[in-house]
């Protein structure tokens, strides 16, 4: 479809969002990611029944932790869509980029800069 979305979105393939562990999400922020999306099937339509429900719980857990440690719980979000909805994916990618841009860079990056200064 050649729809455009920002270049800073990079994708890692998993067989089901049920495979995405909380630690994978946290490690991304630990290494400096500004935002993480977990993208899975529509609720009720998970190819493996309940994978996306599990993923949602883990995203919520990660979000809570990130909020408590001052990174920002809004930086991780779960999106549900069907594999036929290309335009919707692009829309979510844009939405997430805008949201994360508004939140600013990962605070760890700024803390690093200050420490180096």
């Amino acid at each position: 479809m050649r729809l455009n979305y920002p270049t800073n979105v990079k994708i890692i393939r998993v067989p089901c969002t049920g495979k995405v562990d909380t630690i994978h999400i946290l490690r991304a922020f630990e290494k400096g990611a500004d935002g993480v999306c977990v993208i899975g099937c529509m609720e009720g339509d998970c190819h493996y029944n309940s994978g996306n429900f599990r993923a949602r719980k883990r995203v919520e857990q990660a979000s809570h932790l990130l909020e408590q440690i001052g990174i920002g719980g809004e930086r991780v979000k779960m999106f549900n869509l069907s594999s036929g909805e290309g335009p919707r994916f692009a829309q979510y990618a844009v939405e997430m980029t805008e949201r994360v841009t508004a939140l600013g860079p990962n605070p760890i990056k700024l803390a690093r800069k200050r420490a180096a200064a």
Binding site: K10, I12, V14, R88
Partner: protein, 885 residues
């Protein structure tokens, strides 16, 4: 050159060179000769030299053993129905147009807008039965079967897409949501989402010029004329057979019925009048997606029988060389970067990416190609793998969805394990979507290659275990479904063991006399039993009970207690077909069981066959007894036609008898509609009742007094009936024990749950287990037969492999780390992990579906999913974020 896009129902444009829609197979461009101006530019530009500009239609001859006609339908064109405003106002659309408006890849990109002024509608009306159940303005007297459900779906989805309020009203004569769980969807739409359902035939739709709205005029149930204003009107157009199909049938010498659907015998639902030619889908009769898919497999089974003797004679097999053991070696990664013509190369600096790849850890060879997927590039890659002793390959190109399997075959052809392969998608996820920023696209391509190379370094060979397949199926249930499934399998050369708990075969069909078409069920069942008993490949075990079940796809072992002596027998088989059937509901209401004059439709049918109808003067029938209520919210599908069948029988023998049918909706779907029309013509009286005010029944000396409301007169009527026939619905057979022995998923009403409602209607989630007949959901005899063929077909596809290769993407438990906490056992949607004799969790690779849920849940991190291990995913995260902090 642009043209109006017929796929989007002429709502937008497309080019003369076009791909019809994103899911087209093959996903390739075509040239529309009607719009093409003949410049030939496309042929010159194509870097793959894929355009044959002077291509002409070629005729060729094929010798085949069987033919299956699945030419489908077209939507009814309502242009001739001037009173609906179609053609006068663009805001009156057909349901097909509305589907495209709703679609995210349609002309409005999923924004629900009305065509005239692109405004978001506030109120939408659906008008049902446009081009169906109508012999007045068009010749389609049948019911198209799908329009009630799709109108409800469109209303629900439109409400979801429009974030403000949207009022939806569906104007109908009957709501026909008769499929499995469809009634529940209807109730959700009505009660939870507020979709309105109004019983009325629309008289006129007038466009209102000032606002673009539409005035819909109709007569409501009280007789008052109402007018309502809507932003849009959707005409629920029916399905009809295109002229081209009629012509095709003529050429092939196939008989069609009066509506141009293929004429079939109720006991041979996919067989046409010409031997060797079969049919399926809407060409056979109007039907929904699950039934179409089922019939497709049924036709394959019927054709398969004809072709059984020739199985395998024209297939080719591929030789794969032995795998080289690379397990001790350090990774030697080869990176092949693709230009994909100009798709990648036109945006991304491919040479830069290739040079960058050469600097990455473990990369010993890099290359670039114009089209990495072409056959000659495969040969080139094979040479390079061998020359440079590569033991990991990264291809930076398009999406793995297109060519990953092919590249994996290339690796296998060099003796490299196919799981030592990784793709970086620098096209769909890069050049195609960042065409406005090439420098950023090149940077991102390098990031993606770096991540792929990091992952390639962590990959290790995975074994795809091979398991043998026992070419025998166990069929559970000896009714019409089970017997047809057994024959379907046996006629294609596979053994079938048929296990039946009763003494006789035949199941519920033993209580039926004739189908509504007049076909003799008794004779059919006797013949079927004879065929089954005589077939050398079928073993019949009656009075048998299943008590144990182990194994996995291709290798099951079932313990059966056979006969009154209950002797134990172990059956080894490769597949299971569930055909446990259903029973007629035994009513608790309306005096059933207390008065002999209150009977069910099955009992009435038997009574009519025995004693006839000569002594019956007043017969009342009550529909939906035991269905569509709180206890059983589903529709039992067959009762409307069952009642009408008996009503017509009574009228045929005794034209002066009064027959009253008290109904909620008459669901004579598809070609059954004609019988409803015939019944009305013959003077059968139909009265609609609402479930809040059901008929009252008092059994008296003179007769059974039935009191009910006539909605048109607005008054209560009473009939003193000689016979009260209750259309008792279907209830699933009790399969609780069988379900727990064989770990079978059942829904709340006790019917087996198929793997996917639409796309896998005869398969269970456990591989190798299939389901058919009323064990799946209530259905007619002919639908049961079709589904039994379909289950047999899916089972034979399964059993026809001499060995099965299991995917290597399965989860594995490290026994040393396992804390035996049971979390994985509880989280797996398929119930695969179990605590073994050593007290730790064990996952059978033959059963694992490879989703990774258990790996994510395990609190002890004792489970890894092959090919998606934690470090194999985390290395990508770290590689992508390299240098950020």
């Amino acid at each position: 050159m642009t043209a109006v896009n017929p796929y989007n129902k002429n709502l937008d444009d497309r080019r003369a060179t076009f791909i019809e829609y994103p899911q087209a197979v093959p996903l390739a461009f075509a040239i529309d000769p009607k719009v093409c101006i003949g410049c030939g530019l496309c042929e010159n530009i194509c870097l793959a030299k894929a355009v044959r500009y002077a291509d002409r239609i070629k005729e060729s001859a094929l010798r085949v053993g069987a033919v299956i006609l699945s030419s489908g339908s077209e939507g009814y064109d309502p242009s001739g129905l001037d009173y609906f405003g179609y053609g006068r106002s663009p805001n009156v659309v057909t349901s097909e147009e509305f589907e495209r408006i709703l679609s995210a890849s349609g002309p409005y990109r999923g924004h629900v807008m009305r065509p005239l002024d692109r405004e978001e509608p506030r109120r939408i009306a659906w008008i049902q039965c446009v081009g169906s159940r109508d012999t007045n303005r068009c010749g389609n007297g049948y019911c198209s079967s799908v329009c009630c459900m799709y109108a409800i779906k469109e209303a629900m989805i439109a409400k979801e897409h429009i974030h403000g309020d949207l009022d939806c009203t569906i104007f109908n004569m009957d709501i026909r949501t008769f499929g499995k769980d469809y009634e529940k969807y209807y109730l959700r739409a009505r009660d939870k989402e507020g979709v309105q359902f109004v019983k009325a035939r629309i008289h006129t739709v007038d466009p209102i010029a000032e606002t673009g709205d539409l005035a819909v005029r109709y007569v409501d149930e009280s007789g008052a004329i109402r007018e309502e204003i809507f932003s849009m009107v959707v005409l629920s157009v029916g399905l009809q057979i295109p002229r081209a199909s009629v012509a095709l049938a003529g050429q092939l010498g196939i008989e069609l019925n009066k509506y141009n659907f293929v004429a079939t015998d109720p006991f041979l639902p996919v067989t046409t009048s010409r031997p060797g030619i079969y049919t399926c889908g809407v060409f056979q009769g109007p039907k929904d997606i699950p039934s179409s898919i089922t019939e497709a497999s049924a036709a394959a089974c019927a054709a398969g029988r004809d072709l059984a003797a020739a199985r395998g004679t024209e297939t080719r097999s591929i030789e794969i060389p032995d795998e080289i053991d690379v397990s001790g070696e350090t990774p030697r990664i080869g990176v092949f970067v693709c230009n994909c013509g100009i798709n990648i190369g036109g945006i991304v600096k491919v040479q830069e990416v290739q040079d960058y790849a050469a600097t990455l850890p473990n990369v010993v060879y890099t290359d670039q190609n114009l089209f990495t997927c072409s056959q000659d590039t495969q040969d080139k890659i094979k040479d390079k793998i061998k020359a440079h002793r590569l033991n990991r390959v990264v291809v930076a190109a398009c999406t793995p969805k297109t060519h990953e399997p092919m590249f994996q075959e290339t690796l296998q052809a060099c003796g490299i394990n196919k799981y030592l392969f990784e793709m970086a998608n620098i096209r769909n996820q890069n050049s195609w979507i960042h065409s406005n920023d090439p420098p950023a696209a090149t940077r991102k391509a390098k990031d993606l290659v770096r991540a792929a190379v990091a992952r390639a370094g962590t990959l290790h060979p995975l074994e795809e275990k091979k398991i043998s397949v026992i070419p025998r199926a166990l069929v559970v249930g000896g009714g019409v479904a089970g017997m047809n499934a057994a024959l379907g399998l046996a006629n294609q050369g596979f053994e079938a063991v048929l296990v039946e708990k009763e003494e006789k075969l035949g199941g519920l069909a033993n209580r039926l006399t004739h189908t509504i078409e007049g076909a003799d069920v008794g004779a059919y069942v006797d013949d079927l039993i004879r065929k089954v008993n005589d077939h050398p490949k079928i073993q019949v075990q009656t009075q048998s009970l299943i008590v144990g079940f182990t194994g996995f796809k291709g290798n099951f072992s079932t313990e059966v207690l056979v006969g009154p002596g209950m002797y134990e027998r172990k059956i080894a088989h490769g597949a299971v077909v569930l055909a446990t059937g259903a029973r007629e509901y035994q009513p608790k209401e309306y005096g059933y069981g207390e008065d002999p004059r209150v009977v069910t439709q099955l009992e009435l049918g038997a009574r009519l066959a025995e004693k006839g109808a000569g002594d019956l003067n007043e017969v009342v029938m009550i529909q939906c007894v035991g269905s569509r209520n709180e206890e059983n919210p589903n529709c039992s599908r067959i009762c409307c036609q069952s009642a009408i069948k008996n009503a017509l029988h009574i009228k045929a023998e005794n034209p002066d008898a009064n027959v009253y049918v008290l109904y909620r909706d008459i669901r004579t779907y598809g070609l059954l509609e004609d019988y409803y029309t015939e019944a009305r013509a013959k003077g059968v009286l139909f009265f609609r009742y609402s479930p809040e005010r059901p008929p009252e029944v008092v059994a008296g000396e003179a007769g059974v007094a039935v009191t009910f409301e006539d909605p048109i007169l607005g008054r209560r009527l009473q009939v003193s009936a000689d016979l009260l026939a209750l259309s008792a619905g279907m209830v699933a057979e009790d399969t609780e024990e069988l379900g727990s022995i064989m770990k079978l998923a059942r829904n709340a009403e006790g019917y087996f749950m198929e793997a996917h409602v639409k796309l896998r209607p005869v398969e269970m989630a456990t591989e190798g287990v299939f389901v058919c007949g009323t064990a799946h959901s209530p259905k007619l005899l002919s639908e049961t037969i079709a589904q039994a063929y379909a289950a047999a077909s899916r089972a034979t596809t399964f059993l026809s492999q001499s060995e099965m290769t299991l995917s290597a993407v399965v989860a594995q438990v490290d026994a040393d780390k396992c804390a035996s906490c049971l979390v994985c056992v509880r989280s797996c949607p398929y119930g695969v992990p179990r605590i073994n004799a050593e007290g730790v969790s064990e996952i059978d690779p033959a059963l694992c579906h490879g989703c990774g849920i258990c790996a994510g849940e395990c609190p002890a991190k004792a489970i890894e999913l092959n090919w998606y291990e934690d470090d194999q995913l985390l290395c990508k995260v770290e590689a992508l974020l390299e240098g950020v902090l």
